[in-house]
């Protein structure tokens, strides 16, 4: 079966193709057919849509419910979770639901009707959840009002369920599809109240993800899979020394190669445009290029590491100070100190960055799997010189994002190349380009000091942190809250607590990496808490319980972890167990890791995860995000290391930038343990944080060797017991 994707230039009709293999849901639907997603789930003609009850909900005469989705789908499953939330309030039959991407262009033209389309900070459910709840409830009440008007009865006598309005006294019914046009014209006096969580029938169900049927047979369309009529293909190389510029590229050397159309020279990059991607990639490799690299071309990782560690001695900016740390440390019976650091790491999503751009006289179209359709649109406008309202971003499925697709560099390049060649262009980065042109997690270092009273009580904790700001615009008075996530807002309560920040950026571009701030800071904090426990002669769980005595939610997660993770039970020599826990994006996540260290090699055998993320929308969604986040963080802890030589990244592919494979992946159990009544927290990112210190704490338990730097692989663990 071949699906050639043919798109007309102006009109994008949502494909009626839905994959086979619908699910019987049992709840929320009258049919064995489930809701479904199109392989190309977008529709740009959304401004005036018959049956549009509000910007989020369209009900068609045949009862089809189009639910707009205002975030990215990069694997986290919220293309299912948010419609699930909306359907709960709307009282629609799930089989009729057809989610599609909200239009970024409409978001510009219609005064940010969808809020932010950016997908980071584990915000999809956490922030958009309540917005779509309200949209669903409002649509439901307007459908009820439309029915009541037709029947000339009080709305209070009418009820919505399974895509029908019933007049309870008479038993008469209307289908939603019969009422949608009238409901769209009704204005409510006030917005309806949302359901109490006890009333949820559909939220909390383990429903099947809508995108999975498309992802087991090759039909799901990622950005890299799309075709536009008349399209040419491009490969690009940006100056490998960040901030450098293009000096020359001798296109005469590749001009005779088959299929080559044009070499496009950008300020900081060069692109080869050809009729086929592989011809473009091969020609780019053969193209003689000279770069202007400047002083950054003389830098290397050893210098940077020294600079971040040296920065710990600077005065810095005080980001938080409780009590009197200096006084408490001076009076303490015992003080311990330790310095930690982590290197730069890359995101390496499976789908290399890519975009199709078509610049025309009056509009720009971009097809891209992006985490940030708003910013992709802005980049498209800037690169083309077009007004934002004339830029159309068609978001697709993304083959992973993890933060890298929040900064759509590929869009700016594709638009510039299309403008230069006057044709639609598909730009596909190589893996090497993806590894070498990242927006990396910052290099960071930290120095902790902890003071204990004579009885072993921890009385003071100070940390001096040097790291780069991924978002310089967020910096105020030398402090970037994102960089300090997990330090300035750690849940541990000590009477004297201080965080000092030394922000330091280099020529290496930074960006949010799954759980920015938290990801390195959880490693730092949870490792040092472990050191504090050992220094005080306490069990690591016991010390955490004491410092979290004010947090019953943390205590119950620790209870689950201790029980399920067999904490305190003996392990044979060479094996060890480590624990770590944190709060990130309104969720508490803890892990216990069991490792075997043998012949200097580390294997994570088992990971037990416990989580309080409040109200659960879809338990399997929570489980898979925590499992996946854990593996993502495990890759960073075991292997993640981007090094700089002569100003450029040395790694280029999975041979030099290894990641977790089957053989490295531990057996995993997830226990969701929500505090009743707590609103939903994010789960996409927290899993990537605590795995790192839980692993190194387990290595300490197995070997007595405390790892204060990452990655683990490459450090000498031989003979360490």
């Amino acid at each position: 079966m071949t699906i050639h994707t043919t798109l007309s230039r102006r009109q994008f009709v949502v494909s009626t193709l839905t994959a086979a293999g619908g699910f019987a849901l049992g709840v929320g639907t009258t049919s064995a057919e489930a809701a479904s997603l199109s392989v190309r789930p977008w529709n740009d003609d959304t401004t005036h849509y018959p049956g549009e009850i509000n910007a989020w909900v369209v009900i068609q005469p045949d009862d089809t419910v189009i639910i707009r989705y205002g975030r990215a789908e990069m694997g986290q499953g919220s293309f299912t979770a948010l419609p699930q939330i909306l359907a709960e309030e709307l009282e629609c039959d799930w089989q009729y639901v057809r989610p599609e991407y909200a239009s970024a262009n409409r978001n510009v033209r219609d005064n940010k009707v969808y809020g932010s389309l950016s997908t980071g900070g584990s915000r999809a459910v956490r922030e958009t959840g309540v917005i779509v709840q309200q949209a669903g409830a409002s649509a439901r009440e307007r459908l009820i009002a439309a029915a009541a008007k037709r029947w000339n009865v009080p709305a209070t006598e009418c009820e919505a369920a399974m895509s029908k309005i019933t007049h309870k006294p008479s038993g008469r019914t209307f289908r939603f599809g019969e009422l949608a046009a009238e409901a769209a014209a009704i204005k409510l006096d006030k917005e309806p109240a949302l359901k109490h969580p006890d009333q949820y029938k559909f939220i909390g169900r383990r429903i099947a993800r809508l995108d999975i049927p498309l992802k087991i047979n090759g039909t799901a369309k990622y950005g890299i899979d799309l075709e536009v009529p008349g399209m040419v293909r491009a490969a690009v190389m940006k100056c490998p020394v960040f901030g450098g510029t293009l000096k020359s590229a001798d296109e005469s050397k590749i001009a005779s190669r088959r299929g080559i159309i044009q070499v496009v020279k950008l300020k900081d990059a060069v692109a080869v445009v050809a009729d086929r991607t592989w011809r473009a990639q091969a020609a780019l490799k053969a193209l003689p290029i000279e770069w202007e690299v400047g002083a950054a071309g003389a830098t290397n990782s050893a210098q940077f590491r020294k600079a971040y560690l040296d920065a710990l001695d600077q005065k810095g900016a005080e980001a938080r100070h409780d009590g009197n740390v200096d006084g408490a440390l001076a009076k303490a019976a015992k003080v311990i100190e330790a310095t930690y650091d982590v290197p730069i790491i890359a995101h390496a999503p499976m789908e290399p960055l890519n975009a199709i751009a078509h610049v025309q006289a009056d509009r720009v179209d971009v097809w891209v799997g992006t985490q940030n359709a708003d910013l992709a649109l802005t980049f498209g406008a800037q690169a083309s010189g077009m007004k934002p309202e004339n830029v159309y971003v068609h978001n697709t499925f993304s083959g992973g994002g993890f933060g890298r697709r929040l900064g759509p560099d590929e869009v700016a390049q594709a638009v510039a190349i299309s403008k230069a060649v006057g044709k639609p262009v598909k730009l596909v980065w190589t893996r090497e380009e993806e590894i070498r042109q990242g927006r990396y997690r910052t290099q960071a270092a930290i120095r902790f000091k902890a003071g204990f009273a004579a009885d072993g009580t921890a009385v003071a904790l100070e940390m001096r942190n040097s790291a780069g700001a991924a978002n310089p615009a967020g910096v105020k008075d030398g402090i970037d809250p994102q960089t300090l996530q997990g330090l300035i807002n750690a849940a541990y309560q000590l009477p004297n607590y201080r965080v000092i920040s030394m922000l330091k950026n280099t020529h290496v571009p930074l960006g949010p990496w799954r759980a920015p701030g938290h990801s390195q800071n959880a490693f730092f904090m949870e490792s040092f808490i472990d050191e504090m426990a050992h220094a005080a002669g306490k069990d690591p769980v016991q010390l955490r319980r004491q410092l979290l005595a004010h947090r019953p939610d943390f205590q119950q997660v620790l209870d689950v972890l201790v029980e399920k993770g067999d904490w305190g039970t003996p392990l044979p020599r060479g094996r060890g167990r480590g624990i770590a826990i944190t709060e990130a994006y309104d969720s508490i996540v803890g892990m216990i890791v069991e490792v075997t260290v043998k012949g200097g090699q580390v294997k994570a055998d088992r990971v037990v995860i416990a989580c309080d993320c409040g109200t659960v929308v879809n338990p399997r969604g929570v489980e898979t995000q925590l499992e996946g986040g854990m593996i993502y963080g495990l890759s960073a802890a075991l292997f993640g290391n981007i090094t700089i030589k002569d100003g450029r990244v040395e790694q280029g592919n999975f041979d030099t930038y290894p990641v977790v494979r089957f053989k490295d992946a531990p057996k995993t159990e997830v226990y969701i343990s929500p505090t009743p009544g707590k609103r939903w927290g994010g789960v996409g990112e927290p899993g990537a944080t605590v795995i790192q210190p839980a692993l190194t704490n387990a290595i300490f338990a197995a070997t007595g060797r405390r790892l204060r730097s990452l990655p683990v692989v490459g450090q000498d663990l031989n003979g360490a017991v």
Binding site: M1, T2, I3, H4, T5, A19, A20, G21, M74, G75, G77, A208, R209, D211, I212, P213, K215, I216, N217, G218, T219, A220, K221, I224, D225, E227, R233, R276, T277, W278, A348, P349, M350, E351, P352, F397, G399, G400, G401, F402, R431, R620, T624, E627, G628, M630, I631, L634, S635, N653, F654, D655, V659, V660, R661, F662, K663, A665, K667, T668
Partner: protein, 151 residues
């Protein structure tokens, strides 16, 4: 001009002999279910079958598979009915899904050589990368598929 047989259909493609099979499948024949992930046979996102054997098509020159039987994810079954696909559905394996065509094709070939694998067998023989970290569910799905295929 090279002749290749993909999912039972013969195609004549006018490409250089060294063109990787991956790009022939994607851009000459229009089968985009096979993915580009690394270009150096490290990640397995481009896995297809050549005469029933799993190969990483990004590193297979098209000339070397002329006349051989090539199967892609699109040709594995009609209606996603292959036991491996059904196991993937039941276990709800994919997240971003980008690696999963390759994971499925690698598993189909693997189960032919080992119809009842242990976890250790899986870990030793399946080497495809998944950045979303679906390995735990992948293992479960491999076992489920093996059971379906034995029954």
């Amino acid at each position: 001009m090279v002749t290749i047989i993909v999912n039972g259909t013969s195609h004549q493609v006018d490409v250089e002999d060294e063109t990787p099979l991956l790009w022939v499948l994607r851009e000459e024949i229009g089968l985009t279910g096979t993915k580009f992930g690394c270009g150096i046979a490290e990640c397995g996102a481009c896995t297809v079958h050549v005469n029933g054997q799993a190969v990483r098509s990004c590193s297979v020159p098209v000339k070397t598979v002329a006349g051989k039987q090539i199967t892609t994810i699109e040709g594995l079954s009609a209606n996603s009915s292959h036991p491996v696909q059904q196991a993937w559905l039941t276990e709800q394996v994919p997240q971003c899904g980008y690696c999963q065509s390759g994971q499925i094709m690698a598993t189909v070939a693997f189960l032919k050589t080992n119809p009842n694998p242990s976890d250790a067998d899986i870990d030793a023989n399946l080497t495809n990368i998944c950045r979303c970290g679906t390995y735990e569910r992948l293992r479960r799905a491999v076992h489920r598929a093996a059971a379906l295929m034995r029954s």
